[in-house]
Amino acid sequence: MSWFDKIVSKTSLGIKSSKTDEIWFQCGKCNEQIYTAEFVENLKVCVKCNHHYRLNGRERIHLLIDQDTFKECDAEMAASDPLKFKDKKKYKDRLKATQKQGLGHDAMISGSGKLQGHEVELCVFEFNFMGGSMGSVVGEKITRSIERAIEKRSAVIIVSCSGGARMQEGIFSLMQMAKTSCALKNLSDCGLPYISVLTDPTTGGVSASFAMLGDIIVAEPGALIGFAGPRVIEQTIQQKLPEGFQRSKFLLEHGLIDQVIPRAQLKYSLANLLSLLKDLPMPATENTQTL
């Protein structure tokens, strides 16, 4: 086993398999049957077609952060309903119903931890919470994470996974774009690194603010990334979109991101990038984790 493989094979999602789990998993992309255990061990990437399935917030943290080093911040922060918004359902009721599903208080988990020894402030989206949409809570958690990084002189990593701004918080959601971008300006002025990780999907107000402001921007393979959603574009221009449009490779080829990084190499690459940016040697590897 090479030094590189050693590091790479370490990452896992921290999922305990239970007896109720299906043994087989059918990939929705290639229709192949694969062992669920194998799929999970492969970090929810299809072993046949390499399709990167979406991770939830906890899995993402487990993938990136050294074991037992993550300290969540602002865990109790929750959305209020400043506009008393009501569509077919009240926003308040929507929030309550989603919170009852055990998805946390809002669409983001943020906190401090170590990424292969590097002190980082990490923000990860919880896509299952209203499509990872950004309202005041998401914007505030990101802003506070950036402010903590400035205080501690550490790095910021944001893993985006969001359909964009949350309509139910109206103008406040739009203003989170400005708020987070202002905070990133301060971070940048302090000479501290921010790496933006784009996963499937990263669109709308999230992509049009902090997601596209990384000193370094990387994306997972096959992720949908763009300003407007493909359906909106199709309706506007009245034509079919080309294959691969707005996917990671498309962005790479149009000069919009730095790298496309497979999930298995993500932690190593981020650690290496931080070491290189800060002109530090690669930190020692931690103890090998198991599932």
Binding site: E140, S181, S207, A208, Q246
Partner: protein, 322 residues
């Protein structure tokens, strides 16, 4: 041709009746004294206008904000500023015709004025892409803002756009990055920025010119995270629910002032800016003067601190029991 909105119909009817009375009074001396009648009816018309426009809901307001006769960015440039010199191009291969920008004199000082232009004639609308900018427009805007910073000239942005253009080429050229980078850079520009929403403040495409020290909205403009149509079709699954969507979004100047998102509402002539461009421009001029005075009280450092504070406090949430 004048476009009349449904809630304006009565007003127009009354107006034309008064006009008839006036011409009648000129034609014959024998009509008797109808001056009194005319004065009475004119007063009534003013009252009607005031009532109709004070009671507009979110969707009606959106339609006033989008009214084709409403003064556009270039109209304000012509009426409010002098010696305008338009500056073109993003210097990155893009022309950016949906956004107009250039140097001008406001009163006796040089300023950089930038804003989206929707276009008035069919030809201009196409050329301007209805005010929906490509990345090149935002990049041109930023280039001009940095030019202003270099020469310590204040920046005035006039916002009027349905949103950033959603198209293949826009995505290829990095629409998201163009908007994001403007937010990032505008937050640190070392020169005063006065933002004024003059018509439609459509989402990220509006915000891309919307980070500044003073955020003003014309009385009948709107500012929203998504259009009522977009919101209705996503949240109601029903394109016809625009009125409910507009109401839910709280997109009027009055609501946004109450929510502390904007600093000031700029008055419009009675019946809306689309009925009198010159008077609308006079109100805009007065508002700009007043806001320049407010800004003049701060050093550059204080100004940037206040700008950051303004956006830092945006949002509402709860913090749990702790």
């Amino acid at each position: 041709m004048v476009q009349i909105l449904d809630f304006e119909k009565e007003l127009f009817a009354e107006e034309s009746q008064i006009r008839e009375l006036v011409s009648l009074s000129h034609m014959y001396d024998s009509v008797g004294d109808i001056t009194e009648e005319i004065t009475k009816r004119t007063k009534k018309l003013r009252r009607m206008k005031r009532e109709v426009f004070a009671g507009l809901d979110g969707w009606q307001m959106t339609r006033v904000a989008r009214h084709p006769d409403r003064p556009h960015m270039i109209d304000y440039v012509n009426h409010v500023f002098k010696d305008f010199q338009e500056l073109h191009g993003d210097r990155r291969g893009g022309y950016g015709p949906s956004i107009v920008g250039g140097l001008a004199k406001f009163d006796d000082r040089s300023v950089m004025v930038i804003g989206q232009q929707k276009g008035r004639t069919a030809e201009e609308k196409l050329r301007r892409n209805f005010g929906m900018s490509q990345p090149s427009g935002y990049r041109k805007a930023l280039r001009l803002m940095e030019l202003a910073e270099k020469f310590r000239l204040p920046i005035i942005t006039l916002i009027d756009t349905p949103g950033a253009y959603p198209g293949i080429d826009a995505e290829e050229k990095g629409q998201s990055e163009a908007i994001a980078y403007n937010l990032f850079k505008m937050s640190g520009l070392k020169t005063p920025i006065i933002v004024m929403i003059i018509g439609e403040g459509g989402s990220g495409g509006a915000l891309a010119l919307g980070v500044g020290d003073r955020i003003l909205m014309l009385e009948h403009s709107v500012y929203s995270v998504i259009s009522p149509e977009g919101c209705a079709s996503i949240l109601w699954d029903d394109k016809t629910k625009v009125s409910q969507a507009a109401k839910a979004l709280c997109l009027t100047a009055k609501e946004l002032l109450e929510l502390n998102v904007i600093d000031q509402i700029v008055k419009e002539p009675l019946g809306g800016a689309h009925r009198n461009h010159r008077r609308a421009a006079a109100f805009v001029r007065r508002a700009l003067r007043a806001n320049f005075k407010i800004i003049a009280n701060h050093s550059t450092e204080e100004m940037l601190e206040l700008r950051h504070e303004k956006f830092r406090r945006m949002g509402e949430f709860t913090e749990g029991e702790k």
